[in-house]
Symmetry: C2
Subunit: 591 residues, 2 copies
Amino acid sequence: MNDILIDRDELDFLLWDWLGLQDVLDRSGSEVDREAADAILAMSHKLARDSFLPLFKLTDANEPVLEAGEVRALPQIGEALREYASLGLFAAGFSEDHGGLGMPTLLSSGSLLQFFAASLAVSAYPMLTVANARLLTTFGSAAQIETFAMPQIAGEWFGTMCLSEPQAGSNLADVATRAMPDGEDGLGARYRLFGNKMWISGGDHDLAGNIVHLVLAKIPGDDGQVGADTRGISLFVVPKFLPDGARNDIVVTGLNHKLGYRGTTNCVLAIGESGSPVAGGDGALGWLVGEPGQGLPQMFQMMNEARLNVGMGAAAAGYRSYRHASIYARERLQGSPIGAVAKTSGPIIRHPDVRDMLMAAKCYGEGALALVLYCARLVDTAKHDPADDALLSLLTPVAKTWPSEWGLAANDIAIQIHGGYGYTRDFDVEQLWRDNRLNPIHEGTTGIQAQDLVGRKIRKDKAGAFDRLGDLIAATVAASVDTAMAAQGAQLGETWDRIAAAVAQLRECDAAAANENATGFLRAFGHVVVAWQWLDRALLCVDAAAEDRVRAAKPWACRYFFERELPRIGAWLGPIEGESRLLSQMNEDYL
Amino acid sequence: MNDILIDRDELDFLLWDWLGLQDVLDRSGSEVDREAADAILAMSHKLARDSFLPLFKLTDANEPVLEAGEVRALPQIGEALREYASLGLFAAGFSEDHGGLGMPTLLSSGSLLQFFAASLAVSAYPMLTVANARLLTTFGSAAQIETFAMPQIAGEWFGTMCLSEPQAGSNLADVATRAMPDGEDGLGARYRLFGNKMWISGGDHDLAGNIVHLVLAKIPGDDGQVGADTRGISLFVVPKFLPDGARNDIVVTGLNHKLGYRGTTNCVLAIGESGSPVAGGDGALGWLVGEPGQGLPQMFQMMNEARLNVGMGAAAAGYRSYRHASIYARERLQGSPIGAVAKTSGPIIRHPDVRDMLMAAKCYGEGALALVLYCARLVDTAKHDPADDALLSLLTPVAKTWPSEWGLAANDIAIQIHGGYGYTRDFDVEQLWRDNRLNPIHEGTTGIQAQDLVGRKIRKDKAGAFDRLGDLIAATVAASVDTAMAAQGAQLGETWDRIAAAVAQLRECDAAAANENATGFLRAFGHVVVAWQWLDRALLCVDAAAEDRVRAAKPWACRYFFERELPRIGAWLGPIEGESRLLSQMNEDYL
C-alpha cells in the first residue's frame, strides 16, 4: 500500500537537529520527554497512515451531501477522528488545566503534519476544533470554556469559525450579521443572531455530537444601525445544539461543491430563522465572548493559528507530492540521457530536466516544512519572549503564503514528472494539486497576506521584528564564512541588503504606494526567508557522511535554491525599486 | 447565458491588423475574401457558443464509460460535431482536390480558437481528425486517401494518432508494437499488427462511423527482431472497421480517468487479439503509409500540427479564463483600495493586487493567442518560403510550451481573482485550470520541447532561423525608436543580446551540457519571443484612441510585460551563463 507521508528521518532532522525540540521540551514544563515525543511522532505517523490516508481518495470521490437540511459526510471520517480523539490528539496542545498534555506547538505540529499529508480534508476538522477551543480558553468565561471548549478538547464536539458572508469575504468591515441583546444567563450575555455566513468549513455534518460556531456579528447601536467598519464586530459562541439539547436556529442552505478538499464540508449557513429581526424571526441563540467590539482582535488569534495551519497543510501536501515524484522517477524507465553511453532505457531520474524538477519540488516541499516548523517553535518561545512574538507576527503571512504557493508548485511539478499518469486519477498527485489549490485562497488570500505584511508588519514594525530577522540572517551569513557554503552566505547577505533597501522604500512612501507592489514584496521576502533557512540547515550538514541521505542532500538543495530560485526576486523587487505606479496609472477599461 | 469565448474585436485586431490576413488570403489562391472570412469567423463563434460551450461542463460531469468492450461518449458530442461537419469545418483547410476550401491556416486557426475556448475536450476530435487526414493526404496513396482521408475530411469518420505505449511515452525508440507482412492489396502493403497503445485520445467512442488509427509500429527484420531505436519505426493506417465492414482487432482494454479534458475519451488499446504473433493471434489489419522506416518523420508532420494545436488550445483556455476574471473583477464588490477616499465597497478591479493579476492573465492569454496565430501564418507562408518554414520549426516548441505553461498560469490567476467562488464548480475557471493542465504534458512534455529546441533547432540550425528571428526582432526594436515604446525597445534589444550570448554558449558546449539547462533556455526564449510580439503589437497601437479598448490597452500590457515578466529571464538564463552542471553533479540519492 502507498504510505507516503512525511519522511520520519526528515522530520527528526528538522525537529531535533535544526530546531532543538529537546530544548523546547525542557523549557516547556511539560512532562513530555524525548522518548514520549518519539512515541507521539511514531503513533501519529501510524494513525495518519492507517486511518487518514485511506480516506484521501475516498472522501474526494464521495462528497458530503445535503439531505433534509442536514449534511451527511462519510462515516469513516467520524471513525478516524474518534481514533484521533482517543489518542488525546485534540487535547495535546492544551494545558493540564484543560485536560491536555501541555505539548509544545513544535511537537504537536510535527504530529499534525503527518495527518495533513494524509488528508487535508479530514485534518481540517481537528485543526478548526482545536483553534476554536483555544480561542475560547483564551477569551471565554469559565462557564463558556467548560460548556463549549472542553467537549472540543475531548474531540467529542467539533468547531468552526464563521467570518465570511456572501458579500463579505476579504473585507470583514462588510459583515452584516446582527446580534440583538437577549438578556444574560450562566453562559454570559445572551444574543439573538441573524445573518448569512458563507464558506463555513465543517459548518454542518453528522460527525460529532455538536458543532460550536464562533461567529462574527455586529451589535446594532441605539439607532438600530450597525457601523460599516470592523470596530463594531463582536464575537459570539453559537452552538448547533443548545445546552438544553434543543436545535439552535442555524440552517444549512447550501453546500459548496469544491475543486478539491472535498471531505471537509463547506456550507452556506442561515443564522436566525428568517434572516431579519424586523421580520419577526427568533434568531439563533449565542453568547458574547469577551467584550463587545473585540470580535476581530479575538478572532485574529484563531486566524493566526489557522494561517499557520494553512501553511502546514500546504507544506505537507507539497512535500508529499515531492516524495511521490521522487519515488516515481526511480521506478519509471524511459530513455537515456543525452550523451549517455548506454542507450537502454533507464529511470527518468537520470534526465537533467527531471532532476531539475525534482530538486525544485524538494526545495519547495522541504523548505515549506522547515518554515512552518520554525514558526511553530516561535509559537512556543513567544509565550515568554516578546521579540519572538513580534518575529512570529512578521513571519505569519510568509508561513501562510509561501507553502501555499510553492507547495502548489511542487504539486504541479509532481504531476509533470508523472507525465500522462500524473494526469489520471489513478495516482495521488492530481488530487494533491486540487486539494492544495484552496490554500492560497482561504484564511486570507495571498493579496491579503501581502497587505498584512507590508501594511501592518513592515510599516508599523514597532517591535523591530524586521531588524531582528536581519540580525538572525547576518548570524547565518557570518557562520557560512570559510565553509563550503561561503558563496551562498555572501549571496544571502547581498540579497538581504536589497530586501532592506526595499523595506526602507516601502516605509517612506505613502500607504497606497506601498500597497501597490506589496504582493511582489511578499514573494521576494518569502524567498529570502526560505533561502536563509536553507543555508542555516545546510551549514548543519556540510560534514554529513555521503550515505546520510537526509543530511548530505541539504547542501546540494541549498546550492540549487540559491542558483535557481533566489534570483527570481529580481523580477519581484523591480517594480518597488523602480517606484512603479503602473497598476494604478492604468485605465481600468484596459484590464 | 455565459458566452465568454474569444473576443471578436481582439481576434480581428490580431488577424487583420497585426498579421495581415487580407494579404494571406490574397496570396493563398483561395476563393475566400474578406466578407467570406468574416462570415466564417462569425459562424464559428456562433457554433462554438451555441453547440460546444453547453458541453463544456456537461462532458466534464459525464465521463465516457466502457461498456462491453466499447466506449460510450455523450451523444451530444456527436451532435455538435455533426453540426461542425455540416458547416464544412473539417474540410476547411484542405485543398479543393480533397473536397476543401483551401482556407489558409491563419483563418482556420481563428475559427478553431473559438471551439477550443468553448471546449478543449470536444474540439480534440476534429483537431485529431484533421491532422490525421492531412498526414494521409501528404504521405498516403491515392487509394488510402480516398478510403481513409476523405471520410475524415467530410467529418464522418474520426482519426487518432497512436504513438505511446505503456512503456514508451516520451521515448518512442521503445515502441514495441510489431507489424508482420501480410501481402498486398488495393490499399497497399498489408500488415498484421500486434501491440499495446496508451493514452490514445479518441481511441474509441460511438461518435462517428469509423475510427482511423495512425499507428507507429516496427517491422521485424529477417531475424524476427526489432531494433531498439527510432529508425525501424513505420507508420500504418489501421481502421476500427475494415473496408468490408468487419471489425478490426483493436480492443479497448481500459479508459483513463483524467483530471480534466474529460470529454475526450482516452484509451488503452490492445492491437492484435493476443498481443503476440508467436502465440498465434491473427493481429489487426493495417496498411503501410509511405515507405518502411519513415514512420517517425511522417508522424512528425502530424505531431508538429498537433503541437501547434496544443498551443492554440492552451491559449484559448488561458485567454478565456482571463476574460472570466476580467468580468468578475468588475462585478464583485469588496472593500476599497488602501488610500481611497470613499470607504464603501467597490469592484475588486480597483485593488492593485487584482489589477496586477488581471494584467498578468491578459499578457499570458492575449500573448499566447498572438503567438499561436503568428505561427499559423507561418504555416501558410512556409509553403512558399523555406525561411519561414525554418522559423516555424524554431518556434514550434515555443508555440506548444509557452501557452501551455502561461495559459495555465492565467487559469490559476483567474481562480485566485474569483476567490472562494473560483474554487467551486459553480464557476468555469476551475475546470479551465484542470483541462489546461494536460497541455504541458501531451504531444511532448515541456522537457521534450526544450530538448527539441536546443538539440534540434538551436544547435543544428542550418537554415539560420535563429539569426532570422534576430533580424525580425531588430526591426521591431528599430521601429520603436522615437516612439512611446522606445524604452521597451531598448530593453528588448539588450535582452536579445543576452539570449544570443546564451545561444552561442549552447552551441559551443557538448550535447549533454547543452541539454542540462535546456528547459530554462526554452522558458527564457519563450518570454523574449512573446515580449517581442507584445512590442510589435503595441507599436501598432501607440496612437489608438483612448476609447478603442482593444488597441489602447496594448501599450499598457506591453509596459506591464516588460516591467514584470521579461525580468524573469534572469533566473532562467543564470545557470546557462554560469555554465552550471549542478544537476548532473548531484548524487541521485539526494533527489
